[in-house]
């Protein structure tokens, strides 16, 4: 019978899986993972994320829901709060407290700047925060560390989507919507930016486990960094500060991605190329080092 056959096949498949699991052998030693390379690290983390996908999604939802569960206005805050920084900086621009640009509507400029800045900095902050707040869970279970980190991005992703929704509306009303097909490169570059930031976050998380000062210093840098990254006003082109902006990767990403999306070109492709390339190298180095350090970071909880 067909059903019997399929059942047999399925049973055999399961038996194979069980046999594979039973045949698995692991050796824990002081040198555990010490010589692992980037391929081993990436494939191990990919397996973990696949294994824990249900838990990542649940964490994602739980953290998002819990942010607003005790408020009377509930979901109103979920939509309103992400727009507050855009509103505040737009007010400053309208009052001429900060300079604006003629290249695009200052509303679109600021909304995109704030959104991209939050997107670039979130992996750095959230990675350190995840390892700190979920220490107990990490030290008592084998839950994947990336599952814990990704679970924290729920609110970030939602806020980014809300802001992008606002940007789409602003583009419709004030112009500046993408007209060139090169603007499509915005999406893959978002991936590069995410991995670069994640790499930096992973490296900093390792140092933060030994000296928690790292998190404080990063927090200060990112609070002031918003004023040096062309988030709501353009940075000067000439002079020393103009030259230094090339060495500010956040400025490169925010300004480059915004111009790419709205105008369809990169203001400085060479700077973007080496920043992105360096970001990917940092990511590969960071994920390898983090993979090696992970058992010790977990145990420190």
């Amino acid at each position: 019978m067909a059903t019997d056959l399929s059942a047999d096949k399925e049973e055999r498949g399961r038996e194979d899986a069980a046999k594979a699991r039973s045949g698995r052998s692991i050796v824990y030693s002081p040198g555990y993972r010490a010589r692992s390379g980037p391929i081993e690290a990436i494939s191990a983390y990919a397996r973990e994320i696949r294994r824990d996908r249900w838990q990542v999604w649940m964490n994602f939802l739980r953290k998002f829901k819990s942010s607003y569960s005790t408020t009377f206005a509930g979901m109103f805050w979920a939509f309103a709060l992400p727009l507050v920084p855009i509103g505040a900086y737009t007010l400053l621009a309208t009052m001429r407290v900060v300079s604006t640009t003629d290249d695009m509507s200052h509303l679109v400029y600021i909304a995109l700047g704030v959104t991209l800045y939050a997107y670039v900095t979130a992996p750095i902050e959230q990675t350190m925060a995840a390892l700190k707040s979920d220490k107990a869970l990490l030290s008592s279970t084998h839950i994947g560390v990336f599952s814990v980190i990704l679970g924290r991005f729920g609110t970030v992703v939602f806020e980014t989507l809300v802001r992008l929704g606002l940007i789409a509306i602003l583009m419709v009303f004030f112009g500046g919507y993408p007209t060139h097909w090169w603007s499509a490169a915005f999406l893959p570059l978002l991936g590069v930016v995410f991995l670069s930031s994640l790499g930096v976050g992973l490296l900093l998380a390792i140092f933060n486990a030994v000296a928690a000062d790292v998190e404080k210093v990063v927090s200060v840098i990112l609070r002031f960094g918003v004023f040096f990254s062309a988030v709501f006003f353009p940075m000067p082109q000439g002079g020393l500060s103009g030259q230094l902006t090339d060495f500010n990767p956040i400025h490169t990403y925010v300004n480059g991605l915004r111009t790419l999306l709205v105008k369809g070109y990169l203001p400085d492709p060479a700077v973007m190329a080496w920043t992105g390339g360096l970001g990917m190298v940092i990511f590969l180095v960071a994920i390898t080092l983090f993979y090696r350090a992970e058992p010790h970071l977990r145990a420190s909880g």
Binding site: S29, R53, Q55, M58, V210, R292, P295, L297
Partner: protein
């Protein structure tokens, strides 16, 4: 791989694990380990620096399929650290642990549970953490649900569960998934009686196809569930072998530690009847004793002595033929005393009382109904002993008081040093009465 080596589920060779005595030292250790692995070197550390201590030392063990290894040890002996290292939650500082197959663990109650989600959802999450697909977990779910006895609560968030319910669910998942190696800490001993029975029976079933490492303070659990056992002390394996022998070793080890601990206390009661009463203690009289001077009032009653009649009294517990302040519930014990009388004492009565630490009277032992002729008129040195075929009190700390009276009038009363009672038997209730069982034709059943 040979068939024999396939049966070895867990093998630990020369495992050491180091901890720090302070947060600063722990961070220094972490920095050293990270420094090593980040540069591609092994994080092995043999040197002990200021503030470091070994939590595990030279651990060598092997668990085969079908074996249940019991881990016994006092608090801080390294049992939980050992389980965490075996589970791979901590890398050893020296040595190697090889696990052949899958590992399941119940080390911390509720670890890995998402409390905002229902028990049902957590079953799938836990299963995924152990590499089980959703389909596999769906098949196992009815068995897990049935074993956990959660009924409709399985659909409620875990945040509303009692610790017993969480334990039942955690154990049901870990044992139904049937890993090749199951690591269990103390927590299984937390459940109620019927659940413990279920756990035992499940462990027996499991041990046929898996290896189990089980750490516990419950000697009866170790005796009934384990096929072999190790005794840990200060991170070292002090004994390995049959569970019964390991329990005996542990009991003796506990007794030695306890005797060292209580030894200094011996001095205080010996000081109690000094040649001259303490300055602060004014001479007083008990209601039934016009002569005895109260030296001190304690929560175990007064310390008093009539110096006109009693010049000296010596008394102590004995076990295994030698004076002891650590006794075993199941072994015979005797109390010995020697009194030096200055005058002839008529109708002497000697009474002992055993108190618990809180000051509750537990067991009186007196000559009240014995009235041996020798005690009708005592003078000079009076020596005696009272024997107990089995000490009977369950493990704990106790205080003995002795009182000597003449025709109901107190002559001497003292509070002895604290005694510790240890046992290889299960510690339930207050006393373990000596009992003799008869079965079949020998039993007198009407």
């Amino acid at each position: 791989m040979t068939e024999a080596s396939n049966d070895v589920i867990l093998k630990a060779s020369g495992v050491y694990k180091k901890f720090g005595r302070s947060n600063l030292v722990a961070r220094r250790q972490l920095a050293a380990r990270l420094g090593a692995v980040l540069t591609g070197r092994s994080a092995r550390h043999k040197r002990i620096r200021t503030g470091d201590f070994w939590s595990l030392q030279d651990i060598n063990l092997e668990v085969q399929r079908g074996e249940v290894l019991g881990v016994i040890g006092l608090n801080g002996a390294g049992k939980s650290t050992l389980l965490r290292v075996l589970y791979g939650l901590m890398a050893p500082d020296l040595g190697e642990i090889e696990v052949n197959g899958e590992t399941g663990a119940l080390i911390e109650l509720g670890a890995g549970f998402e409390t905002s989600l229902s028990g049902r959802e957590n079953v799938f999450i836990k299963g995924a953490l152990m590499g089980r697909s959703r389909r596999e977990m769906e098949e196992m779910f009815p068995a897990i649900h049935k074993f956990s006895e959660l009924g409709d609560f399985i659909n409620s968030p875990i945040s509303g569960y009692s610790s017993g319910m969480r334990l039942r669910l955690a154990f049901a998942i870990a044992s139904t998934i049937t890993p090749d190696l199951l690591l269990l800490d103390e927590i299984v001993s937390v459940g109620d009686f019927s659940f413990k029975q279920k756990c035992r029976s499940r462990l027996n079933e499991m041990s046929e196809r898996a290896g189990v490492v089980f750490a516990s303070h419950s000697m009866s659990d170790i005796r009934s569930m384990c096929t072999k056992a190790i005794v840990l002390q200060k991170g070292q394996i002090m004994f390995r072998g049959e569970p019964d022998l390991a329990i005996d070793f542990y009991t003796d080890m506990q007794a030695q530690i306890e005797s060292k601990r209580v030894a200094p206390a011996r001095k205080e009661p010996e000081k109690a009847p000094p040649k001259e009463p303490a300055k602060a203690a004014s001479p007083a009289k008990t209601p039934d004793s016009p002569e005895a001077n109260i030296i001190k009032d304690t929560r175990f009653g007064v310390i008093a002595m009539d110096r006109k009649k009693v010049s000296r009294a010596d008394h102590y517990w004995k076990m295994d033929g030698k004076p002891a302040n650590v006794l075993d519930t199941c072994k015979p014990a005797s109390f010995h005393f020697e009194i030096e009388c200055l005058e002839t004492i008529q109708d002497i009565e000697i009474g002992l009382m055993i108190w618990d630490e809180k000051g509750n009277k537990l067991a009186p032992i007196t000559t009240e109904f014995v009235q041996p002729d020798r005690l009708r008129e005592a003078s000079g040195k009076v020596k005696g002993e009272v024997s107990l075929p089995q000490f009977s009190l369950v493990p704990g700390r106790y205080v003995t008081t002795i009182a000597i009276s003449e025709k109901g009038l107190l002559l001497y009363r003292n509070v002895l040093e604290e005694i510790s009672v240890v046992s290889s038997a299960r510690s339930i209730g207050v006393v373990r009465l000596p009992a003799e069982w008869k079965f079949g034709d020998d039993a007198d059943v009407a």
